[in-house]
């Protein structure tokens, strides 16, 4: 029981980070219909940028803010250069564009920072675990989780209450209507990509704090996919719930199934779960019943 709760809680905490990245993913899809397979590389890029600034001796917050700023610029550039012209193209084209981007960014990251695992040095969070009741939780997890939750709240309130957020929602629902309200779709697309870059950067930085940073952190970008599929691709709450679910599921299967299937169950379980889930509920938990053709 204790083990179960422990696993569950760490899972949830990890899930918070997933949810954050998943949010960025869904945002892009909602606004511009792009199914983004480069999310993992966005994460990498953001994390490495923060790490670099941090290694220069800046406080983490400043490093993070700087990486957010760079994410913002990169987001706009990426959208402008690569994706703007693909509006209305077949899904495969758009997906492959993000695949191309992912190769490009990964190569770039590897080229600049190499493939060795790098850690935030000195560690940002104390290694001393925190005890809450009978639960023992690494501080890293706790703080990461809190940071993720705070950011999630910020983003969600941004969509719910600010003019820009509403504009983005409007564009997602009906581009023509949005245009008639004087909202520039191009602006919204760029904004979506910027926010995605920023969310991914934060997520990556947090993950990097937990296990150290190497190229496999980019795997996060793939784990996000089961999360958004569970949520139904175009639902922000869905993505958040999906993120938490996947984190939990991953941890649970790592703990309980590893015994039966030694090896990488932890990494594979979300995908197996997703495949089975899709067979029964092809549109996710909150998705539209819309068939898209590739």
């Amino acid at each position: 029981m204790e083990l179960f709760l422990m696993t569950l809680v760490t899972g949830l905490m990890l899930g918070g980070i997933y949810a954050l990245v998943a949010l960025g993913w869904v945002l892009i899809y909602k606004c511009s219909g792009v199914l983004n397979l480069a999310m993992g590389e966005l994460t990498l890029l953001g994390a490495y940028v923060s790490l670099s600034f941090y290694s220069l001796g800046m406080p983490l917050i400043i490093a993070l803010l700087l990486s957010l700023a760079i994410g913002l610029i990169l987001g706009i550039l990426t959208e402008r250069i690569f994706l703007d012209r693909l509006i209305g193209e077949p899904v495969l084209t758009v997906i492959m564009m993000t695949v191309g981007l992912s190769f490009f960014f990964r190569g770039l990251v590897e080229f600049i920072w190499g493939t060795d695992t790098r850690v935030f040095d000195p560690p940002v969070f104390s290694i001393q675990p925190v005890k809450i009741g009978f639960l023992v939780i690494g501080q890293v997890y706790l703080w990461s989780f809190l940071a993720a939750v705070v950011l999630l709240i910020v983003f969600v309130s941004f969509f719910k209450y600010t003019r820009w957020g509403l504009a983005m929602q409007a564009t997602a629902d009906d581009e023509m209507a949005a245009l008639s309200l004087g909202i520039s779709a191009r602006f919204v697309y760029a904004a979506a990509w910027s926010i995605a870059f920023m969310a991914a950067g934060v997520g990556g930085t947090l993950l990097g704090n937990i296990n150290g940073l190497n190229i496999s952190v980019g795997y996060l970008g793939l784990l996000v996919l089961p999360a958004v599929v569970l949520g139904g691709l175009n639902s922000i709450p869905g993505a958040i719930v999906g993120g938490f679910l996947i984190g939990t599921l991953q941890n649970l299967s790592g703990t309980y199934l590893d015994h039966y299937f030694p090896g990488g169950v932890r990494e594979i379980a979300p995908f197996v779960f997703m495949t089975i889930f899709l067979l029964f509920k092809p549109h996710g938990l909150w998705g539209w019943e819309r068939i898209e053709r590739v």
Partner: protein, 364 residues
């Protein structure tokens, strides 16, 4: 509609249905065969043969991807899994099965293993094609991705690789790969095997595409509702497409072990799946020519890049170490560039060029 020179007419349907309908094309194909089977292997040294083998391997892998994406409309991002299944099946059969002596002497073990590998990969692919009965588009892409991770990163890495207790990689001692009396132990022999397999699989796919099965696939790609009212069992044909694509992938994988000293999961990463899709995108989706153009283009460009980096190494030695990262980025940029500037791929350009000269000196 294909362009035919004046004075080419057919008196029988067999002539009209022939693959190569005019003498010009037949001569062209003959010259191509002479080049591929005679001139090139005579002329090429180990380096060029190596490059050619890489091209051939890419073609073999990409044919299945082209079938699924280009002709059946089922996007797959996990094709390397089936190459891996093929490679591992073949390797295990060659290494682990106590073949009777006469078979070993006759060099039958490897050929038999190729066929077994093809079937194994085909069935494995069929299994992961099952969701295509229910899901489409992006969801299908995800399940094919799942195929990659489950197959390579889980089943093969964690279980298959442990067979025989050799650890991660299966080494293939020289002389194990034998077809008949013909030991495939150098690049030239690998080249001939490659050329033979590429010829066979290309013909098989081209023929399929002009018969019942291929037409059904294309119909499903273009308009699945109309296809169903034509009496086409859409699910069956989708699964068949997965099977055939996996089958071809299995052959590709089984072929590739002849070029490897050891087989390990690293040979079949997810990026290789993506690479294959990139190849058909660059070559041209829905075109057999495209498979060849894309493979040639990608392999040759990568080789040129290597050469360029080598020559720069004097100035900036670190570059040499980071060659792979440069390649990765370049591949990514190539895909992006093609999607932006040549979205129909090289095959379309080729078609346009042919058209330009066919219509010469007119434009229509």
């Amino acid at each position: 509609m294909s362009h035919m020179p004046c004075g080419v007419y057919h008196e029988r349907y067999a002539q009209d249905h022939a693959l190569w309908r005019s003498r010009f094309v037949r001569v062209k194909m003959l010259l191509l065969a002479v080049f591929v089977y005679l001139l090139f292997p005579l002329w090429a040294d180990t380096y060029y043969l190596g490059v050619a083998n890489m091209v051939g391997y890419t073609v073999l892998g990409a044919l299945g991807v082209q079938l699924l994406i280009g002709y059946c409309g089922q996007v797959t991002l996990g094709h390397a899994a089936f190459l891996a299944v093929g490679a591992y099946t073949s390797t295990l059969l060659v290494l682990q099965v106590p073949w009777p002596n006469f078979m070993l002497r006759a060099g039958l073990a490897y050929p038999v293993s190729i066929i077994a590998a093809a079937f194994a990969a085909g069935l494995w692919s069929l299994l992961f094609g099952l969701p295509s009965a229910r899901v489409k588009g992006f969801y299908l892409i995800l399940t094919t991705m799942a195929a990659q991770f489950i197959t390579v990163d889980f089943v093969i890495t964690q279980y298959v690789s442990q067979i025989g207790g050799r650890g991660q990689a299966f080494s293939l001692p020289p002389g194990t790969i034998k077809i008949g009396v013909w030991t495939i132990d150098n690049d030239r022999r690998v080249y001939f095997l490659m050329a033979f397999l590429v010829t066979c699989l290309t013909f098989a796919l081209v023929n399929l595409l002009r018969s019942k099965v291929g037409r059904a696939w294309i119909a499903i790609r273009d308009n699945d509702i109309a296809a169903e009212t034509m009496g086409i069992n859409v699910v069956r044909y989708k699964l068949l497409a997965f099977f055939v694509a996996g089958f071809m992938g299995g052959i590709a994988g089984a072929f590739w072990i002849s070029n490897l000293a050891a087989v390990s999961p690293e040979h079949f990463p997810w990026s290789w799946s993506l690479w294959l899709v990139g190849v058909i995108l660059i070559g041209g989706v829905g075109s057999i020519h495209g498979v060849f153009f894309g493979s040639l283009f990608m392999v040759v460009v990568m080789e040129l890049l290597t050469l360029a980096v080598m020559s720069l190494a004097g100035v900036y030695p670190e570059l040499l170490m980071k060659l792979n990262f440069v390649k990765e980025s370049a591949f990514g940029l190539a895909i992006c560039g093609f999607l932006l500037f040549e979205p129909n791929g090289i095959a379309y350009r080729w078609w346009q060029m042919k058209n330009y000269f066919n219509l010469w000196p007119f434009s229509y």
